[in-house]
């Protein structure tokens, strides 16, 4: 297993993602046990990214299903191509052809595969990323449960479609709603927290290759301190990277050089008016001094 884990770490790192031992183990375990993995954590800690990386690591195609309130079977699983069916009927009428039976009309030709169906009917196993499952309705969650346990989908007109390959399934949740026990039970679980200083520094260095070590260290120290403040929306890693990119554009070499630029670019990190109001320039200058 150690060899497998090391290999995995290497591939994940090559793909530009810094993962700790725990996450790697979870990923290894899900591929080993063939069970879905439920990732929870605050916004911007890189949950969705894990799905993309996983596709990279296993060299599989990624199929992503973004959940939202009101997501239904027609958008998530399959839909009949009604227009095409109607055209076929009409064509037959005009050309006086014979033999378009109902079975033909409801065959795979007229079936539009949506992410869930597509992911299990691919020849090569895929990675299925079900993003923000907590936004979907309970009904959909229950349906998903059925798909995830049997890996088959029943279509009334067509019968049951069995999976031709079992995808690796990643579910992410922001916790806007409690997920059902059944779904939690079905999945392996991993909670991604905000990275600590060292990890975040490695992330910044990996994602912003041109950056000076000094500036990177200052940025990370600043963001780490900012997270300790009483904020409504705590900045995630994605925000740190945005901000890094912004500072690089401004040709900053050190935060201390130009504290006003820090204040001006704060919109990359703080996304609500309340938070910006709560962080006046003096506080920011203090944090800058602390970070450099």
């Amino acid at each position: 297993m150690k060899a497998a884990l090391d290999k995995m770490r290497q591939r994940v790192t090559d793909a530009g993602y810094i993962a700790d031992q725990a996450l790697l183990t979870s990923l290894w375990l899900m591929s080993e046990l063939n069970r879905p993995l439920l990732l929870e954590g605050n916004a911007g800690v890189g949950k969705t990214e894990v799905g993309k990386i996983l596709a990279d690591v296993f060299d599989r195609s990624l199929i992503r299903l973004q959940c939202y309130e009101g997501l239904d079977v027609n958008t998530a699983v399959y839909e009949w191509n009604y227009q095409r069916q109607l055209l076929a009927i009409r064509r037959q009428e005009i050309l006086h052809e014979e033999g378009l039976s109902e079975a033909q009309l409801f065959s795979e030709t007229y079936l539009m595969k949506r992410p869930l169906l597509q992911s299990i009917s691919e020849e090569q196993p895929t990675v299925l990323l079900i993003d923000e499952i907590d936004r979907a309705d309970e009904e959909f969650e229950a349906y998903l449960l059925e798909v995830l346990s049997d890996f088959q989908i029943s279509i009334p007109e067509l019968g049951t479609i069995k999976a031709s390959s079992i995808p690796l399934v990643i579910l992410t949740s922001n916790g806007t709603r409690e997920l059902s026990d059944a779904l939690r039970r079905r999945c392996l679980y991993h909670y991604i927290d905000y990275p600590d200083y060292d990890k975040e520094l490695r992330i910044v260095l990996a994602r912003a290759p041109g950056i000076g070590a000094n500036l990177a260290a200052q940025i990370v120290a600043f963001v780490q301190n900012l997270r300790q403040q009483d904020l409504r929306k705590v900045p995630g890693v994605a925000e740190t990277l945005d901000w890094t990119a912004a500072l690089l554009r401004l040709d900053m070499k050190s935060l201390g050089d130009n504290p006003d630029a820090v204040v001006a670019t704060l919109g990359c990190l703080l996304k609500t008016r309340e938070d910006i109001d709560a962080m006046p320039a003096e506080v920011i200058h203090g944090l800058v001094a602390k970070a450099s």
Binding site: M1, K2, Q21, A22, T25, S26, L29, E32, L33, N34, R35, L37, L38, E40, E69, G70, D72, Y82, Q83, L86, R90, R135, D137, E138, E139, G175, T176, R177, E178, D181, R184, R185, C187, L188, Y189, H190, Y191, D230, R232
Partner: protein, 392 residues
Amino acid sequence: MKPGTTELQPDRQLIAQLTGFSRFARAQNFNVGIQESVDSQRLAASIDVTNQRQLRIGLKTLMCSSVGDWERFDTVFDAYWKREQPRQNTQASIGGKAPRQSALAEPRQHGDGAMFDIPDANALDAQGASDGNLGHGGASATESINTRNFDQLSNAAELRSMEELAERLARRIRQRLLRRQRIDRRGERVDMRSTARASLRYGGIPMLLSFRRRRRQTPKLVLLLDVSRSMSVYSYLFLRFARGILGAFKGADAFAFHTRLVHIGETMREPGRRKMREKMALISAGWDGGTRIDKSLEAFNRHYARNVLGSRSVVIIVSDGYDTGEPEELCKQLRRIKRRSRRLIWLNPLLGNENYRPSTRCIMAALPLIDIFAPAHNLESLSALEQHLAGI
């Protein structure tokens, strides 16, 4: 599911220890079923079990199913494995989520936010199955507690269990609302009339089908809780109720007010229990003072209403209406809330008292503006809230 890929046949002692740990974890309210036990054996077969860190991480991802689990797993793991040999002391309570009996026996600590140190809601729901149904078709075991007045609870344990029930009830309300709507629903069918209309463009051939679909939506609840001194008996209970509502209803939000308004929605949603308790303790500094409902509502209207309220919003004010402000100002603010929302509900814990007549100037002035003025003195009355929320 295919059998373990690297079948090393782990030794018997390890199997026994793992089984023991599975049982131990189950006793600590982890979701450990047969599947998890089997998978833990497979895990042990394929990793280096002398490496305790790997075993810990592996079992953690296998057995946890929520943030709460995630935070307390290490304690449970250490408690079992540090003793070296399996013990089957299933009564031991470790970590934040204690078994129910001991949770109830713990003294209630006011003020420091300790009331949020609760058994996981999932576990509560599971217990709910055996606890009766809060007055909706359940056995009569909980009947007495359903009709018990909130201010007549005699000891801390009762209060604590009442708070738990209030939170659970909030989740139930949503489930029942959804069930109701699901029965109403006639399915997603082709709307013939509209299809025929659309087919005119194509010479009568129904090229575009129109569908009729009932949008199923739950109301957006906005809770405004009075946490002033006159309400102090009830505040923590309603906070727990609010937490249940926030967990169950999408887009719900909560505010607390005394002399000023505090937005508590985000804090109460905090998934980590420990973190939430810390934040709550910070926020609740200065509660138990006087009340300025009008000022608080004005702050709500000024800063939050635009973002929080919408056509599906139901605003629920929980207060006894003892206010030192001017009734005219209160009415003005209520009118503004009413304009922006679907329904305005005022829950008054005092209404349960037979001798109580709403007589304060504030309440008298506000009454005509309130859609529903209802009691909230026991669980039954909270449960009745469901009726007011149906059909929105």
